[in-house]
Amino acid sequence: MTTYAAPGQPGSVVAFEPRYDHFIGGEYVPPAKGQYFENPTPVTGKVFTEIARGTSEDIDRAVAAATGAADAWGRTSPAERAVLLNRIADRMEANLEAIAVAESWENGKPVRETLGADIPLAIDHFRYFAGSIRAQEGSISQIDADTVAYHFHEPLGVVGQIIPWNFPILMATWKVAPALAAGNCVVLKPAEQTPASIHVLLSLIADLLPAGVLNIVNGFGAEAGKPLAQHPGIRKVAFTGETTTGRLIMQYASENIIPVTLELGGKSPNIFFSDVAAADDAFYNKAQEGFAMFALNQGEVCTCPSRALVQASIYDRFISDGVARVEKIQQGNPLDTDTMIGAQASNDQFEKILSYIDIGKQEGAKVLTGGEKADLGGELSGGYYVKPTVFAGDNKMRVFQEEIFGPVVSVATFDDYDDAIKTANDTLYGLGAGVWSRDGNTAFRAGRDIEAGRVWTNCYHAYPAHAAFGGYKQSGIGRENHRMMLDHYQQTKNLLVSYSPDAQGFF
C-alpha cells in the first residue's frame, strides 16, 4: 500500500501552479477580461488552484492562433505528425506517476485507476493514432480506361473540442490524438469542474508542440463553450456530455454548416444469463466482478453498467453474492493505492446522486446496500463521497432510466431471452451494454440484438484503442477510439483526372 502525498505537499510527485492562464499560440496568456475562478479538489473540497475564466475574446484569439498554424501543420507529413504523437506518449510514460496523481487530485478518482487505466490508455491512444495515420491510405477508382478518381484525405482545419470532467486527460486524448494525427489544429475547452490536470500534462509536452497547433481555453460552457461552438472559424465540433447541450451544439453547428461528433451518455444494461451461475468457478467470479463494475470511477462513466438484468432463476444467489462483492469495495482517500472508489467529481454531482437515491426510494426501489453518502472523517469529510449503492426495482422507474452518473446500480430480473432484450432496449440511449453467458450462441445473438454501439461480451469497462466506441439512439454520433475517428477529422479531396487526349464531344 502507498498513499501519495497531496500535490504541493512535501514529498508529492507533482505540484500544481497557483494559477493557470489560457494556452494560446504556444504560450500562456491571461484572460481578456482578467477573471479567474477557483478550482477545488473533490478529495477534500478545498481550492488548490485558480483558472482563467475564458470568454469570446479568448476564443477569438485561440481560433486566430489555430488558424494561423493550420496551413503549415496540415501540410506536414504523416510521419512528422506521428513522431509528435509518439513523443507526447513517451513524455507521458516517463511522467506517469505525476500525471496520475494530478488527475486523481483533480477528479477524485482513485489513483490506482489513473496509474493503471486512465493515463496508460491515454499514452497508448497517442501511439495508436501515430500508427494509424502512417498506415492510412487514400483510394483510387478507375472510372474508365482513361479516367481516374483519386481520393485524398485532407484535414478540416481548426476544430473545437469540449471535454467532460469524468476522465479529464483520457477524454481530451481521445479527441486531441486523432485531430492532430489528421493534421488539424485544435481549440480545446476542458470541463470547468476539472480544468487543471490537463495543464500539468501540457507542462510536460508544450515544448514538443508547434505554436498554435493545440490551444486550451478554460472557462464555463455559457461563456467559453458557446462562442467556441458558434465560431465561424471552426470546421468541426466534438463534444462529450449530455443530450440538451448536445442538441444545442448541433444547433450552433447548423449555423455554420459544420459536422459534429457527440458522445452523450447512456443507461447501459448489463445482462446476466442463468448459465453464468452453472458453476462456482473463475467465470462466475468474473461475472460477479462485472456486476460490481458500476462502481468504477465512482459510476461517473457514460457506459456505467447501471442497469443489471439478472435471469430470475439465478437472481437470489447471484444478487446475494453480488451485494457481498460490492460491500468489499474499499472507499477511501483517492491517493491511497488500496482505495477502490474515491470521491464524486463535484458537489453538484454529489447532490444530484443523492436526489436520485431519494426518488429511487420514493418509487419503491429497495436498497440492497449503500443508499447514502459516506463520511470518511478527517480532512476527507469535506469531500464528496457516496457509498456504492444497489437498488432492486422495475425498469420503468426513473433510477433505471436516467443516467445518475454515480455508484448506483439498479437491478431487475428477466424471464427469458426475449424479455432480456426487450428490457435492455427499453431506454432512450444506446452507448454500452454488457452480456454474460457461457453459451457463445446466446452471447453472440444478444450482442447483435442489443441496440448499443459497444456490447462488452463476458467483460466490461475495457477501452482499448482499436475498438470503436460510440452511441446508437440518443447516445450520440461518431466512433472514437478507432482509426475510423480519423474520418471525422478529415474531408475527402477527389481529383477526377482524364488521361485521354480526346475531346468529350459535347461542344
Binding site: 456530455g241 449530455e242 448536445g246 452523450l264 447532490e351 444530484k352 452518473f405 440518443q474
Partner: protein, 122 residues
Amino acid sequence: MSRVDLTDAAADLLRRLAAEHGPLMFHQSGGCCDGSAPMCYPAGEFRTGAADVHLGDLDVAGMHDPVPVWMSRAQFEYWQHTHLTIDVVEGRGSGFSLEAPDGVRFLIRSRLLTDEELAELG
C-alpha cells in the same frame, strides 16, 4: 396544478440571471456527465420543436416573463409520473447553463405525482 415548481433559492437565482440575461427558459437534460439536470438559457437560445414537451411555465415574483420548462418528448415518457421542483445547490455545473459561473447549479428534486394529481393533469 403544475408539473413543475421551484424553490425560493431557485427563484432568487432566476431573478438575478434575468437581470443580466433577460427572459429565460429551462430545458431538462438527460444522459451523461451533467445530464439529468435542468439547463437554463436565455429564452429562445435552445430551439424547441416537435420532439419536446412544454411542462409548464414558472411564474417568478419580480420577473416580467414566465420561465417555460421543456423536456424532450421521449424523456417525458419516463418522467411523466413525477413532479419536479427546480432547486439550486452549490457546485460547478457544466453544459451551457447560465448559472454555472456563479458557483451554483440548478438541480431537479422529484416526487411521485399522486393518482389525483395525475388525473387532473390528464
